[in-house]
């Protein structure tokens, strides 16, 4: 799971896809995931980091991360 190189993200969780002009907002957890994706972290690393920061079970989060990934994929911002 990798963000396209030219996709811009802000500290507020705003995502801009310069290829299409689309822009999106995410909640704070989404923003944290994007930061980790930008750092080329693996899915395992992301699950660890998020479960450490937020009160969520790894199994539950893995499912949510999968949904989030599908959304990012639908919006054509994943490589």
């Amino acid at each position: 799971m990798k963000l396209k190189k030219n996709v811009a993200t802000s500290e507020e969780g705003f995502i801009f896809n310069p290829s299409t002009g689309d822009s999106f907002s995410t909640n704070p957890i989404g923003k944290d995931i994007l930061v980790l994706l930008k750092e080329d972290k693996s899915v395992k690393d992301i699950i660890e980091a998020i479960c450490e920061k937020y009160d969520v079970e790894p199994a539950q989060f893995e499912k949510d991360l999968d949904d989030f990934k599908s959304q990012l994929s639908d919006y054509a911002i994943l490589d």
């Binding site: 030219n6 811009a8 801009f16 310069p18 290829s19 299409t20 002009g21």
Partner: protein
């Protein structure tokens, strides 16, 4: 390119510009002037050329220094040339930039005569102009390997059922210069046919409907096959007339390559706008090629590639290197503003044809 660097000596130029109708479906003139005025290399006097007394640019005195009315395109080239000759005797025009589709044919015809007077233009020749014509675009696309939706040129509404049986619904009914209406039924297609015929005459073009994301590309060709500037833009807000009220510059090499292919194939000379539809499978269809700058052309200057100022330089014989960079994510948001003037000004332009 050192376009944005101030020079020690600004070149003094008189530049004539048409399409001052900065209305809800705006002409590009005011945006072209704004971009030219921002170029630090020029000190310009802008001469507006208008058709109607209520074109807003006429009354914007910080934009246009002096306006002259010119005859409608239907009056022909002799009448236009006579008027331009008179204006040139007073103003000594260096560069003339026409911006309306409907007037371009006459200006292209007059290109050489204007040049003999010292009035520089930077326009495509008739062959280039006609290659991108709506009525020939499909053939053009086929010849150069570009995706263009299928179309049929018709002169009678009686042809609509047979066109519809080939294309299916929805289909797009278009005027030869402007307007496009999506029709989902024969009844809607007939209504669109007559509406557009009443406004723009015959023929009518019926085009295959392509579903996708609309992208517009402003480009400037040097007449030798090089694209001096290409800026792709996606409309963020569209009016009921289909015009962009807000838009954003994009970073997408395939759009830039598409415009470069078009310019190389046609050796396009001057500004143009490619209207492109990108389908969900990533194909880019050229829906239309407008043979002049679009109304949103100031965005090119704001993003770092001042196309109108570059056109002025090309018209004056300068060789320019193609731009390579621009700012992605630059947004324009158009707004409406009630400009106040007085009856004396309206009376002057209406009565004397000058303001």
């Amino acid at each position: 390119m050192d376009m944005e660097k101030p020079t020690n000596q600004q070149r003094q130029l008189v530049i004539a510009v048409t399409a001052l109708n900065a209305i809800d479906s705006p002409g590009p003139g005011v945006a072209v002037i704004r971009a030219i005025r921002e170029c630090p290399d020029f000190d310009v006097r802008i001469i507006g050329l208008s058709y109607e007394a209520l074109e807003p640019g006429i009354y914007m005195h910080d934009v246009v220094d002096k306006t002259y009315q010119i005859p409608y395109p239907s009056a022909g080239t002799d009448s236009l040339f006579g008027r331009l000759l008179h204006i040139h005797e007073i103003e000594k025009i260096d560069v003339l930039i026409p911006n309306f589709d409907a007037e371009l044919f006459n200006f292209i015809k007059l290109r050489d005569k204007l040049k003999a007077l010292g009035i520089h233009t930077f326009l495509p020749d008739l062959e280039q102009f006609e290659a991108r014509d709506k009525m020939k675009l499909f053939e053009f696309g086929k010849k150069h390997g570009l995706h263009v939706p299928a179309d049929r040129v018709i002169f009678s509404s009686r042809d609509l059922p047979s066109v519809a049986s080939q294309m299916g619904y929805p289909m797009v009914v278009k005027g030869k210069f402007y307007d496009a209406i999506i029709a989902n039924t024969l009844e809607q297609a007939e209504k669109a046919f007559y509406k557009i015929q009443a406004k723009w005459g015959l023929p009518i073009i019926v085009q295959e409907f392509i579903n996708g994301t609309e992208i517009n590309i402003a480009a400037l060709g040097d007449g030798e096959g090089n694209a001096i500037s290409v800026i792709p833009m996606r409309k963020l807000y569209i009016t009921d007339k289909g015009k962009a009220w807000a838009g954003i510059t994009l970073e997408e090499q395939s759009f830039i390559d598409l415009a470069k292919t078009f310019i190389k194939a046609t050796k396009w000379k001057g500004g143009c706008e490619l209207e492109v539809m990108q389908t969900s499978d990533g194909k880019s269809y050229i829906m239309e090629v407008n043979p002049r700058f679009p109304a949103w052309i100031y965005l090119t200057a704001a993003a770092g590639q001042n196309q109108p100022a570059s056109l002025v330089k090309l018209a004056l014989g300068e060789k320019l290197k193609p731009y390579t960079d621009y700012e992605v994510g630059k947004i324009f948001i158009r707004y409406a503003w009630d400009h106040i003037t007085n009856i004396a000004e309206f009376q002057k332009i209406s009565g004397t044809g000058e303001l």
